[in-house]
Amino acid sequence: MPGITREEVAHLARLARLELTDEELDHFAGQLDDIIGAVARVSEVAAEDVPPTSHPLPLTNVMRADEVRPGLTAQQALSGAPAQEQQRFKVPQILGEE
């Protein structure tokens, strides 16, 4: 089982939308390497012929009747918004210059 490098941690941080500092990268790289080394032992069961379990319960899709019921008002839904305008969530630009 391979360990994890600082470069890989930087890549993971980008994927996970975490703008880590250099100090954090140094610190986390060592810690994540330790953790992955410790949890890698689960791969000992990779060859076992057992089905995977994703959930403790047998899950079935749950439907409800298609009826209108009360929900949050626009004012309630926007009450925690960092910024709002015209009864809408106001967000930073989503398209870059290019």
Partner: protein
């Protein structure tokens, strides 16, 4: 143990006693609430169990209970009893932070189902308790708002993630508390503080309005000072909820009846070989052995068992839980609620999201998000997440085989007693070991309870006994728990918390 601010000793009573006195008019819900608010004011500066105290809201709920009684309405079995709520459940208009800066100051526009049920039952919500950020941790040190002290020794941790809830009970600031348990976050703090905590069967308590960490493992449950109080709270908070698609549509097991009829006579009790040995503190091993001996004296048949897959459970958990968390926490993107950092008009939404998550999440949350992102990435998925899911099946099969031979399984709740604040905070693997005995239960979705079984001779700190039952047999926990609790208290001559230092 006279307290000048609580001459009637209301804060020392059990929830069942308080509810009875409120119902028969010996005292009022307002008096009880005021006594607890005074206790919080007197000791919580030292303990730091609460992140927010809702004095006005609590008194209003208490007044409503008293008015109902005056009007001759029937009160529920816990009406007027003050409760401390883990800060992971949404409470309308009352701050809900999950111990994180990313939700600092958020006022939910709705109540969680658990919150709603408690209010409808007339419980008085005193405030929100401290916790490891997003319930990730075993010490409450990962809270963005500072650690909580263990009332047995304020320099030690109360366990986690629900350390605030457990500490509020052990320091008599609340009669009941709510926790959530993803890998042990109710049971481990209960063990470390000499209190009782129950993780119900997965799906037994609604997750609607509970901030999600690892959805296939998370489960809310009751925290209390006695087994009966936990059962009374369990009955109020549990039950089917159409708003949670994983909620079990079946009657709540008869937990209160079981708690009132404690007995282990004729019961087959399993002791799992893998829950012991190296890494277990001597005093924990000793008190656990005494508890097993007590069970035998009370008429239980002790059966030694082996669950070989349990030594993979911790590793499987630390792949599954981070994987689910990396997905669940993607919603904290600085767009609709919570913190937003760096929105200066020039940065893109993506940059603002990354800056906000960097500023808003603490180190453990970042570690787990990255670990989960890694485990789920192509190339590693089969080796890590896929294997962890197989290990999960094997753990469930080991439990199934065990419950073919025994009615309940017992173990120490944690390998050690409360450790010092700061001792493991930057050593994630050492911290993760605190949940060694509790994690297999979450993976399988079973029910489990922790109750005090004595103090470790070497440090005088509480040791927890874990009782594990099959899914939907939560009542067995209470039947066993009540019998063990009564026998230990008869031996000690008092509840264990009487031995905690006076704060």
């Amino acid at each position: 143990m006279a307290d000048v601010k609580d001459p009637a000793g209301l804060t020392r009573l059990t929830a069942a006693e308080l509810a009875a006195r409120i119902a028969d008019g010996t005292t009022s819900a307002v008096e009880v609430t005021e006594a607890h608010l005074a206790r919080i004011e007197a000791v919580d500066e030292k303990v730091h169990a609460f992140l927010h105290v809702d004095r006005e809201g609590a008194l209003a709920q208490a007044r409503a209970v008293d008015a109902k009684r005056a009007a001759g309405e029937r009160l529920g079995p816990l009406a007027g009893v003050p409760l401390a709520m883990k800060d992971i459940f949404a409470t309308e208009g009352v701050p809900t932070t999950v111990g994180s800066k990313i939700l600092d100051g958020w006022l939910p526009p709705y109540d969680a189902t658990v919150t709603r049920r408690l209010k409808e039952a007339g419980l008085v919500l005193l405030g929100k308790t401290n916790m490891d950020e997003f319930a990730m941790g075993s010490s409450t040190e990962n809270s963005a708002f500072g650690p909580t002290g263990n009332p047995w020794d304020l320099t030690r941790v109360p366990g986690g993630s629900g350390g605030g809830s457990a500490a509020s009970l052990a320091s008599f600031q609340a009669a009941l508390a709510i926790g959530t348990d993803t890998g042990g976050s109710i049971r481990q703090p209960a063990a470390l503080t000499g209190t009782v905590g129950v993780k119900p069967t997965y799906g037994g308590v609604s997750r609607y309005g509970m901030v999600a960490f690892s959805s296939s493992l998370d489960q809310g449950g009751p925290c209390a000072r006695t087994v009966l109080d936990a059962a009374l709270l369990h009955e109020v908070m549990a039950g089917h909820d159409p708003l949670d698609s994983t909620s079990v549509d079946a009657p709540v097991p008869p937990v209160v009846e079981a708690a009132r009829n404690g007995s282990v006579a004729g019961l087959r009790v399993g002791v799992v070989r893998e829950f012991g040995g190296e890494g277990f503190q001597a005093g924990v091993t000793q008190r656990f052995a005494e508890a097993v001996e007590l069970l035998r004296e009370l008429g239980a048949e002790i059966v030694e068992l082996s669950c070989p897959s349990f030594d993979k459970a911790l590793a499987a958990y630390y792949l599954i839980a981070p994987s689910e968390c990396s997905s669940n926490l993607a919603r904290f993107d600085a767009m609709r609620y919570g913190l937003r950092v760096g929105d200066d008009g020039t940065r893109s939404a993506e940059e603002v999201t990354s800056l906000t998550r960097e500023a808003g999440f603490g180190p453990e949350v970042k570690r787990r998000i990255m670990l989960g992102t890694y485990a789920l990435s192509s190339g590693y998925y089969d080796a890590y997440y896929g294997s962890a899911q197989k290990a999960r099946t094997m753990v469930a099969r080991d439990f199934a085989a065990a419950f073919g031979q025994v009615d309940v399984v017992v173990s120490p709740t944690t390998p050690t007693t409360a450790f010092a604040i700061g001792e493991r905070v930057d050593d994630p693997m050492a911290m993760y070991l605190a949940d060694l005995c509790t994690i297999p239960v979450n993976l399988a979705g079973n029910a489990a309870l922790s109750l005090p079984c004595g103090l470790a001779p070497e440090d005088g700190l509480p040791v927890g006994l874990q009782v594990i039952a099959p899914a939907m047999a939560d009542d067995r926990l209470y039947r066993v728990g009540a019998a063990v609790e009564a026998a230990f208290q008869a031996r000690w001559g008092h509840p264990i918390l009487e031995e905690a230092p006076v704060l």
